[in-house]
Subunit: 186 residues, 2 copies
């Protein structure tokens, strides 16, 4: 159980979007760890976990992906309303869905982070062996191959994870985060 | 944004169940306020808010109520996994659904609180004027009138809110909560 300052400020949602294998979850966990060292609480919302729980009833059609994103946005909002920093790692391939999440959260508390890595590199990494399975035709509507990914046009943070180490990516995220936090006089 | 102890223990879910007007939300907010005074963070998950967000696509059929409860349980689990004390106020009329929530959260972290008030008293209070509307036939499948409420058989805490003040109810909840917290050496 956690202690916190009694003045409950609205939190922040850091929304990591990008292809499978781009590094969303890895960076989210690394940010979480760094924040924890500074005794700042944050919560990770991970797309895979989310699909096993809140969105268990949904598949991967465009409509279901949209609904998955909507629910994720709503849950992120609940967390941020409790004063948490939310690290949300979702492929969230469609611009309109991310725009809706921004609306649900409120633009002032929403930071879109484009975890950008070329498809070839994601496929080379293939940490969950999903690309291999998708190429074999075992995974339908796989983002980047058989379903489109609409890259953010003006994300708050743009990370080229084929060129940055995880630590460098985390530094970028935190410097941006603390400039917001500073502004709020935390 | 909040600071907390870096050791993230699994939180607790206090699940308030009972008829509309029994006092679930009132007591949840009062517990939240008392915890805040002790600098203990907690988060409120309120059934009404939840239905406007995560469960916006659901109605009030038995199947939709079950799905609403399932999602609420999953979201409460996400919160508790972040080390939060979750104050969840949901009518949650069906025993099987509450049993499922207990399973989702894990029995060790789940506290079922029966906010028990006779229907007549709830109807007399009618804070949201829902009973009036339900009697007029304007609200379909209204728990207590046209849809059943299955009272808990062995809740961890049983509050007779027609006989207790809000403060007395909060005392009962907190003494039970702190005995758990003490046990965990918080």
């Amino acid at each position: 159980m956690s202690k916190q300052s009694p003045s409950q400020q609205p939190g922040l949602v850091l929304w990591f979007t990008g292809l499978s294998g781009a590094g969303k979850t890895t960076i989210a966990h690394a940010v979480h760890e760094r924040l924890r060292r500074d005794e700042i609480s944050s919560a990770i919302l991970d797309g895979d976990t989310f699909r096993q729980g809140v969105a268990r009833d949904l598949g991967f059609s465009d409509a279901d992906r949209s609904e998955n994103n909507r629910r994720a946005g709503e849950v992120a909002r609940l967390f941020s309303q409790s004063g948490m920093i939310v690290l949300a790692a979702f492929v969230s391939p469609f611009r309109a869905d991310r725009a809706r999440v921004r609306e649900i959260i409120g633009a002032a508390n929403f930071v879109e982070i484009f975890v950008d890595c070329p498809l070839e590199e994601c496929e080379r990494r293939d940490p969950k062996k999903l690309y291999v399975r998708a190429r074999r035709g075992e995974v339908a509507q796989f983002t980047g191959l058989t379903s489109s990914y609409e890259a953010p046009l003006s994300p708050e943070i743009h990370l080229r994870t084929d060129r940055l180490t995880v630590d460098q990516a985390v530094d970028r995220v935190l410097s941006s985060l603390f400039s917001v936090a500073d502004f709020r006089k935390l």
